[in-house]
């Protein structure tokens, strides 16, 4: 509840800032030897604050009925950490002191850890939490290095002013790489994404919404903030971001397509969306470096819009998954089905968000991607070697796979009939939880229909980077089609409405009948005969087997009537985690256990250590 109040205060503040000059600075004399505690709002932080307040407010509302304090004993802890988490994220966006930034950052990471391990007795959640904590803390070590290096360059712990930092090529490279490791890991950029699916899948759903919709963005924010500091960036950095972004987008969605766990699927799709955001940032940086203004503008607009958009629709999806979880009692999609009949509102909202995440018009996902396409296409016609143009087919492929993923998710969960008795018998209704989801979904639609609203909000941020005003109407011969887009989207909606009315009128006068689904003459259909989500995506998963690499256990069937115990199982494998990191860790553990024999318990050898040290030091001193 408090979070709600806080977020409304935050909203108020944000509106004040947006109305004002967007340059609030607040300074506090911190007794630590790291300089004053400086807080400031600039367009970049405002961009992130907008979805942050919106989503956290909605999440707070949602949690009132999702995790009712009366029924769940751990709700006090949960609420506390939700508050800490939100506050820490706000702090991350506001502080301009490196050390304070680290503090806020780690506070956020830790709060997220406690949130996601709320379900104390869930072994899987604990394991995911551990992996998350290890990953995030290791990333923080990189950030230690990053801010120390910045301190070395500037001599102050305060973050330098935008576009003011210039240093040697090597140091610059090191700073950027540490930032990429630290922030990229938090953002879930491949190959540092391994913690993400488990973490998002096992957290309570509204927490997943915040983690995916907001916390990942903090990593993006970090990269953007770092990039902003430099006078000029090395050319390779933009390309690196572009390649990593493309790689994440493609593999993220491939991973998502192969999942059977709804929340894992959503988590993997977050990797994809982060990839898309990084494609945008990479494109913009390449544009900045080569002086191609269109690329720069399109890239940044695309990335920034997608940051906000992803925050919105991914939250709806995660919140929706929470409702689904409540009613079906399982996260496994292949056991669900037919929920749309019992919770029509949730189903509709989930559908809107699914369409948005696939980047389909007339929703907001399309707007961000459109900018990226425009950038790529412009590169295709304008640049002598249009490598960036390849972004367009890549995005198309990613979009196609996203469609597979979300048709699968939506279809298996909400459509058809219930596949298992578990899913059938649970109490299910839309409930008050759909309120916040509705608000977010309406935002998605509004942005999709009138992208100009959001573009206006994002424009100051792009200006912040370029230093000059942005005229979207004419960018070196390219016009950003915002108004035509609105018109066409409205046309599309109007067409749909007209058709629907016509159809309804038409149906009215015609005979209607209801019967079972045509089973191709099969006489005894059962719910289990339905196509499962796994089968739905199998064809694609096989094509991208190198990432998704599912493990299939096929039973050996013997005799005419094989035993009932022989079941087929399918488990998607996390390539990096299961095949690389886990073996690596156990190998290191083995190596360490050999080294641990140094502590063998024999006192006289310990004394020998003492004297050996003495001798070594003597010899060294000589």
């Amino acid at each position: 509840m408090l979070v709600l109040v806080a977020s409304s205060i935050g909203w108020y503040a944000l509106f004040c800032l947006l109305g004002g000059t967007l340059g609030g600075i607040y300074q506090l004399d911190w007794p630590m030897p790291f300089g004053p505690a400086l807080f400031a709002v600039d367009p970049l932080s405002a961009l992130f604050l907008f979805p942050l307040f919106l989503v956290s407010g909605c999440v707070a509302l949602y949690s009132l009925s999702y995790w009712p304090a009366a029924e769940r004993s751990d709700s006090a802890r949960l609420t506390l950490f939700v508050g800490v988490f939100t506050a820490a994220m706000v702090l991350v966006l506001l502080v301009r002191n490196g050390v304070l930034f680290l503090m806020a950052w780690e506070l956020m990471a830790l709060a997220a850890y406690f949130l996601l391990t709320t379900e104390q007795h869930n072994r899987e959640a604990q394991k995911a939490g551990t992996i998350y904590l290890l990953a995030t803390h290791s990333g923080t070590m990189a950030l230690f290095a990053l801010f120390s290096l910045l301190h070395r360059v500037t001599g102050s712990f305060l973050l330098p002013a935008p576009h003011s930092l210039s240093t040697s090529v090597t140091l610059e490279a090191v700073i950027l790489v540490t930032a990429l490791i630290g922030f990229g890991g938090k953002a879930g950029l491949m190959p540092l994404h391994f913690w993400l699916p488990g973490a998002h899948a096992n957290a309570p759903s509204h927490v997943s919404a915040m983690m995916s919709g907001l916390m990942l963005k903090m990593g993006v924010y970090g990269i953007l903030r770092t990039v902003l500091l430099f006078v000029d960036l090395p050319g390779w950095f933009g390309w690196l971001l572009l390649v990593l972004g493309g790689w994440s987008a493609l593999n993220g969605i491939a991973l998502a397509a192969g999942q059977r766990d709804l929340k894992r699927l959503l988590a993997c799709s977050s990797i994809e969306n982060i990839g898309i955001i990084f494609i945008g940032i990479g494109m913009a940086l390449v544009g900045l470096q080569t002086g191609a203004q269109v690329l720069f503008i399109c890239g940044f607009f695309g990335a920034f819009l997608h940051i906000v958009n992803h925050g919105l629709f991914k939250s709806v999806l995660f919140l929706g998954s929470g409702v689904v979880l409540h009613s079906s009692g399982t996260r496994e999609m292949d056991r669900m089905g037919g929920l749309a009949k019992r919770m029509p509102v949730t189903a509709a909202l989930f559908l809107v968000a699914s369409l948005a995440i696939c980047g389909l018009p007339p929703l907001n996902g399309f707007v961000g991607e459109l900018f990226l396409y425009l950038g790529a296409l412009y590169d295709g016609i304008a640049s002598p070697l249009p490598v960036l143009a390849l972004v367009a087919p890549l995005l198309a492929l990613v979009g196609g796979m996203a469609a597979i993923t979300f048709v699968k998710a939506y279809g298996t969960i909400f459509l058809g009939t219930a596949r298992s008795t578990v899913a059938e018998h649970r109490h299910a209704a839309d409930g008050p939880m759909v309120g916040p989801m509705l608000l977010l979904a309406v935002c998605c639609l509004a942005i999709g229909l009138a992208p100009l609203l959001l573009v206006r909000m994002v424009a100051p941020v792009v200006r912040f980077y370029s230093g000059a005003d942005v005229n979207l109407a004419d960018l070196g011969g390219l016009q950003i089609p915002l108004m035509p887009l609105t018109a066409l989207n409205l046309l599309l909606l109007a067409l749909i409405v007209v058709l629907a009315v016509c159809y309804r009128l038409r149906l009215h006068g015609l005979p209607k009948a209801a019967s079972a689904t045509w089973g191709c003459a099969y006489q005894a259909p059962s719910p289990r005969i339905q196509y499962t989500g796994t089968s739905f995506s199998e064809m694609m998963v096989n094509l991208v087997g190198y990432v998704a690499a599912p493990q299939r256990l096929k039973p050996v069937l013997a005799g005419f009537f094989p035993a009932r115990t022989a079941t087929f199982s399918y488990r998607p494998v996390e390539l990096l985690l299961d095949r690389v990191l886990t073996p690596l860790f156990s190998w290191i553990g083995l190596a360490f256990s050999y080294m641990r024999r140094l502590q063998h318990g024999q006192l006289h050898i310990y004394v020998l250590y003492v004297f050996a040290t003495l001798f070594v030091l003597m010899i060294w001193a000589h």
């Binding site: 024999r597 140094l598 502590q599 063998h600 318990g601 006192l603 006289h604 050898i605 004394v607 004297f611």
Partner: protein, 213 residues
């Protein structure tokens, strides 16, 4: 006087070697006691007479020559052991190592500049050699008692060096050091008693429960 001091120091070093080679516990304790007595006599030989000096001589002889050996042999009696030093390495190799260390001590002492009046004396090599002997005993012997003896020898080595400074050092510090040593040995004695009760043996190689697997 100085030649006498040197002879005594040679004696100290010989005792070192004897201890390395001896297999009997009680004998080792007596050897340490003898070493302690010599250490008590030594300051009187190199420094002019003073009250301070008498005090030191008396207390060192008392502590190192009488009380501590008594404490240890008491522990030995209580634990019902007479013999067997039980080294990890055989006596001959230990002796050989002891000889090598003594030689090394001389080399080491050569490297360090001494005050003019100490130039002729064997204090530094004797000190280092005794220190190293103590270390050898500590690392090669199996019995807890032997390790205490090793520690004592080590302390003696340090004390030999301290003799060079007896005059310069304040009495309080010396006394404190001695007292600490005394209490330390006393506590060690108690612990040894407990060990022998708990394990019915003083073999420290049995004290190996606390380790990393």
């Amino acid at each position: 006087m100085n030649s006498l001091a040197d002879q005594l120091l040679v004696l100290v070093m010989l005792i070192n070697l004897i201890m390395l080679g001896s297999s009997r516990l009680i004998f080792s304790i007596r050897a340490v006691a003898a070493q302690g007595v010599i250490l008590g006599i030594l300051p009187g030989l190199i420094h002019p007479f003073s009250l301070h000096l008498t005090g030191i001589t008396a207390s060192v002889i008392l502590a190192k020559g009488i009380i501590i050996p008594y404490l240890i042999s008491d522990a030995v009696h209580k634990a019902h052991i007479r013999r067997e030093v039980e080294p990890f390495i055989g006596y001959v190799p230990t002796l050989f190592l002891g000889a090598v260390f003594t030689a090394l001590a001389f080399v080491f002492a050569e490297k360090l500049p001494l005050a003019p009046e100490h130039k002729e004396l064997l204090f530094v090599p004797a000190s280092i050699a005794t220190l190293l002997t103590g270390f050898l005993i500590l690392t090669t012997r199996r019995k807890a008692i032997s390790q205490v003896i090793g520690y004592l020898v080590l302390e003696n080595g340090i004390f030999v060096f301290g003799l060079l400074l007896t005059e310069a050092m304040p009495f309080m510090v010396e006394a404190g050091a001695l007292l600490d040593l005394l209490v330390g040995i006393f506590v060690m004695g108690i612990v040894i008693n407990q060990i022998s009760q708990e394990f019915s043996s003083l073999d420290t190689s049995r004290l190996r429960a606390l380790k990393e697997e």
